[in-house]
Point group: C2
Chain length 313, copies 2
């Protein structure tokens, strides 16, 4: 197993799919197949010929692992077939994230939950992953009491069409977009971010308020975050805790440009929240939404499973 396992990348021609193929190649995986819709079948991507992602192809029983980066409807349709064929499915859509019994995993935060899977493991939203990487070490030490954040989300988080739209746009027309689906008083994106953060940190009541905004940036999500903790933490303590945290790098001024192409969550601007009564911290993070925010996190889940799986006799 390990680098020899048979891996299917479903949605291989999308923004996240392409990054997934590149990361698998870089990491020495030798038995990778690319799947996409009928429209892309036969095309070449990252040196592979794209196969059509039909239920039968995914259920054929020759895949150990399937990494899905397709839309929610396509995931709902196809993931069960891959599982039926005996593959473990790691799904990057929101189809299964909040379903009871399905682990929602950031390896550095709640990796042990991945081992409880029954075929499907959900990969969190590209904003939830970096946020929980930063919240977890603070929570372990001081208890996270409440969180507020504004996001600066890149076009690539909304897929290839949005990237095209930004490429076609004159910079002079740059605008912030706030056109996500609406869910009561919140955007779906904001509701997801709260629900997923609660599930990953196992804090089902965590008070969290998010305002999600898409900015004219191609790659790299950023978040401006206020965190109140039960036990007060000084900015120096937070800096120390985050410097020691896995997949987190402390920098003075994290930006999307600095995070793009990197595997770590960059965090900086760590300072006292001048509006908090007790222990409050303000900070800013940036993360490559296609890598740690999506493709890399899914591969890390797969590697965690491979490392914990008993060696075959």
């Amino acid at each position: 197993m390990g680098r020899d396992q048979a891996i299917g990348v479903v949605g291989a021609t999308g923004a996240v799919g392409r990054v997934t193929l590149g990361l698998l190649r870089e990491r020495g995986y030798r038995n990778v197949r690319a799947f996409a819709s009928a429209r892309s079948a036969g095309a070449e991507v990252d040196g592979l010929t794209v196969e059509e992602a039909t239920p039968d192809a995914l259920a054929a029983g020759d895949l150990d692992l399937c990494l899905f980066s397709v839309g929610t409807a396509a995931s709902r349709e196809l993931v069960p077939h891959a599982v039926r064929g005996g593959a473990v499915a790691i799904d990057k859509s929101s189809a299964y994230r909040l379903q009871d019994g399905i682990p929602l995993v950031v390896p550095e935060v709640n990796g042990e939950r991945a081992l409880e899977h029954e075929g499907i493991i959900a990969n969190p939203n590209c904003s939830s992953i970096p946020l929980t990487c930063v919240l977890k070490p603070l929570h372990e030490t001081a208890g996270v009491a409440r969180v507020r954040l504004s996001t600066y989300q890149a076009a690539s988080g909304a897929g290839a069409d949005r990237m095209e739209r930004l490429r076609a746009q004159l910079p002079a027309d740059g605008d912030l977009e706030m056109d996500w689906e609406f869910d009561g008083e919140e955007f779906d994106e904001e509701t997801k971010l709260r629900a997923e953060t609660r599930k990953i940190l196992e804090l089902p009541e965590l008070p969290l308020s998010a305002t999600c905004v898409r900015v004219p940036v191609m790659v790299g999500h950023a978040e401006s975050v206020w965190i109140e903790t039960v036990e007060p933490l000084s900015p120096d303590q937070v800096r120390e805790l985050l410097a020691a945290a896995p997949s987190v790098r402390v920098e003075d001024f994290p930006t999307p440009r600095g995070a793009a192409g990197e595997n770590e969550v960059l965090v900086g601007r760590i300072r006292a929240d001048r509006a908090a009564e007790g222990g409050g911290i303000a900070l800013f993070l940036a993360c490559d939404n296609l890598r740690k925010g999506a493709a890399l996190n899914a591969i890390q889940i797969a590697e965690l499973l491979a490392a914990r799986r008993p060696v075959p006799a």
Copy 2:
């Protein structure tokens, strides 16, 4: 006086200066002169020939009002000469904003302070103006207790050079910039925003935490704001208060593009702060940083003075 008063626009060739000239023309002012540095003297701007802004020219005694939109150092040098010549100076730099005895004025918020001037009135920062327009009606009704905000600031707020840099940038390279001057653990921009908001609202201890970010947008600042009030306010109450507030327009989804070219502060996404214990509100605002955020606010200060000035015998 009124539309006949002799007005000097100093810094007439800059981004804010040009908008100032356009607004004065639209509003029927007939006696306007354009001043700029020696480099621009003789050039044409908005149908006017630019005069050099020398101390002598400004102190000559033939100006009733001087609107300054030049850098802080140039304001410190030139403003006193205009005042010496008998003009009222409305200064858009940060030179005088926090100086005791100098009014810092948003007409809809603390217009009466303008009448206490001794020659100089300061125009607030382009982020402080829309924020205080929104905070004031909430404060009057329920008492503002604490404020947190993340900004999405347009390139034009940093002047013509920054606009050029954004124009030259491929959209694919779009990045968030965080390169303001640093002041302890905060950016100057963040420190200013707190100090100015406190002065304008006359709440010298107001707890306020800001994270200021420049985004690849040409015109239009936006702010994602959390406001806690002493008396709880429902989102509906906030919507009603803001709908009735001067220079504020309630919209579902304010964006910089929607605010550009408009005279009002757009505010929306008004909802309960899901992270607040008591009365907390989350909202999003957008404002044309060159108009209400700068040029228009200064002209409104001038018009407030003109309206209150005794008619000459």
